[in-house]
């Protein structure tokens, strides 16, 4: 792989990480409100998938989509301004963390109803197929979404009509507090996709090079007329489900389970949260970012010093983004009405 690509992947992951950690900080400072679902730990997925996409492809995402927007090339200031609810945000301050849109970059939105991104993605793919265009749709969703009816209905249609869409399952093992083996009858999620005649594979979602390669190949198959493709990226989120999830519940619940004098306590112990301890995380190896950085250093693509420089660059970008956001004015109620009524070209009916 080219040095440039690797460099880009590393930079995107670093940016996503620093951006998200800063968003968490701004949330505690009350500059950001609402539900805030952060991405640390999962950067290899966004970076790997979206660097393999072409600008003509469409992206459909979930409420955990800041990193997708950043990697897609949305200026970080516009992403941060949206979190701040300001007029210069991606969605003019109307959507917030969960609903980021960018028409220019074919970033078709973050959707917060679990599973909803799938039929919307299929609808875009249908339009592409109808016009026989060389474009594709990349549709993100989590492990929890595979249990929603909408997911199945969408995959069946994609398979049936042979549509140009890449389904990307970000399997971080948890749907809020419910671990994958407690929510899916078949915990190897990619296997469930055989039901729709869609080629599916599982990728190490902590390895950005593998994600990047798998995506390139999948998109190539789609463009050759191979129909829909599915990749499951195994990954992990380091933070709680959202900022409203204080993370402290995990040991508390465990403790309660241990203390319970109920005959079910053993069963509960078996089901206890598998949030890895620092030791387990260490044993599992470095995360996507440090792994790639190390790889690049080892291969002589970069020096340690370059990695440090990159980190500084990224830090500066994020600082600037916050400044941009803070300086942006709040939207007016009139802007809200205009946004709603873009549908009717602002015509006043009654």
């Amino acid at each position: 792989m080219e040095r440039e690509t690797m460099h880009r992947l590393l930079r995107d992951m670093l940016l996503a990480r620093v951006f998200e950690e800063r968003a968490a900080e701004e949330y505690t400072k009350r500059n950001i409100a609402g539900f805030l679902h952060l991405y640390p730990g999962e950067e290899a997925v966004a970076a790997g998938v979206l660097n393999a996409a072409s600008p003509a492809d469409y992206i459909v995402s979930t409420y955990r989509e800041h990193a997708h927007a950043l990697v897609r090339g949305v200026p970080p200031g516009k992403v941060m301004a949206e979190l701040f609810g300001r007029a210069d945000g991606m969605s003019g301050g109307m959507g917030g963390s969960m609903h980021m849109f960018d028409r220019e970059r074919r970033f078709m939105g973050g959707y917060a109803i679990v599973g909803e991104s799938c039929p919307i993605g299929v609808g875009i793919a249908y339009s592409i197929a109808m016009r026989a265009l060389p474009e594709a749709v990349i549709c993100f969703f989590g492990d929890g979404a595979v249990n929603q009816g909408a997911f199945h209905e969408a995959l069946n249609m994609a398979g049936l009509w042979h549509l140009p869409i890449l389904f990307v399952c970000e399997n971080n093992h948890y749907a809020i507090g419910t671990e994958v083996h407690r929510h899916s009858a078949v915990p190897e999620l990619y296997k469930r996709v055989a039901a729709y005649n869609i080629p599916a594979e599982k990728i190490d979602g902590m390895d950005v090079l593998k994600v990047y390669d798998a995506t390139r190949h999948a998109l190539a198959r789609i463009r050759r007329g191979g129909g829909p493709q599915f990749i499951e990226c195994e990954t992990y989120r380091y933070r709680g489900h959202s900022m409203a999830d204080p993370d402290s519940y995990r040991p508390a619940v465990e403790l309660k389970a241990y203390q319970a004098h109920d005959p079910l306590s053993a069963a509960i112990r078996n089901l206890e949260f598998r949030y890895p301890s620092p030791e387990e995380l260490a044993a599992a190896g470095p995360d996507g970012i440090s792994r790639l950085a190390q790889h690049m250093v080892d291969a002589g693509h970069v020096h340690e010093a370059e990695v440090e420089a990159l980190k500084n660059d990224v830090q500066k970008i994020v600082d600037d983004a916050v400044q941009f956001a803070a300086a942006s004015p709040p939207p007016t109620m009139d802007a809200a009405w205009r946004a709603l009524n873009c549908n009717r070209h602002q015509e006043v009916l009654i």
Binding site: H99, M108, G123, I124, S127, I128, H152, A339, I350
Partner: protein, 332 residues
Amino acid sequence: MAQEMLYWQALNRAMDIEMEEDDSVFVLGEDVGLYGGSYRVTDGLYAKYGEWRVRDTPISEGGFTGVGVGAALVGMRPIVEIMTINFAMLALDSIVNGAAKISLMSGGQFPVGLVVRVPGGAAHQLAAQHAQRLEQMFMNVPGLRIAVPSTPQDAYWQLRQAIASDEPIVVLEHELLYFVKGMVDIVAEPPPMHRAAVRRPGKDLTIVSYSRMALLAQEAAAELAKEGIDAEVIDLRSLKPIDWDTCATSINKTHRLLVVEEDCRFAGAGAEMLASLTERCFFSFDAPPQRLAGLDIPTPYNGALEAASIPRVADIVDAARTLCKPAQKAAE
């Protein structure tokens, strides 16, 4: 230029013309293609436009309505047919959380020009799960429009307007209207999609109604005329927005209001009509405004019970008569 058509034919014609003029218009739904539509509304379109533009879908209302939303986001003009309103609850999330909200959520970047066609209403003993009137379900959703054509001409006009529009619009058709005949002028300039129509002028009371009930209201008005009660009948044509001005003008003349709806009474569509017109016309009323509506019961299968559960012409006549009584007394 006007020609006689059945209501379903008028809808069919509207789609055909729009599909011919704009190749981004396409239809999707269960059995809309090869089968020709369960109420024939898409008859002939599959043979003419092919399977990509007239797409038979699996039984996946939530999914294929979401497909329509996605297509609308990239500028297509999808017409989603939900076979009947009874299945529309499965698609409600796609309509409410998707179609209706994206324009706002995206800060005005993405209009959603989606049309959802849905037949509904009580029709010949289809029983509780197949005889629903769920218009109120869509009315409380900001960002949606709702058209309720009662004549072939309106069906033709409003469906064409809906397809051409960039707004998410639900077109509520009535299963018992599909075989109603009427004259359709296919080139005449239509009124705005949401403009109410005064179907019959009158001076004694205003009957506000829509869809099939607007026809029954006209029949009732003819009966009432024989008794010397001169009812003005307004067909709303649109449930969102509602053309309050036309209603208010009428009330200011008649001083009496009867709202007639097929919906179940409690929190049905008529509640909004009565509420808004009271807020607006309170001082014009000579008698308390009234609703006549469906009973608050799931529709029983038995034919007589079904018939008794929604307003009939005689019920409208009775309600109007009662509403006008105090004034007649006063005049005596």
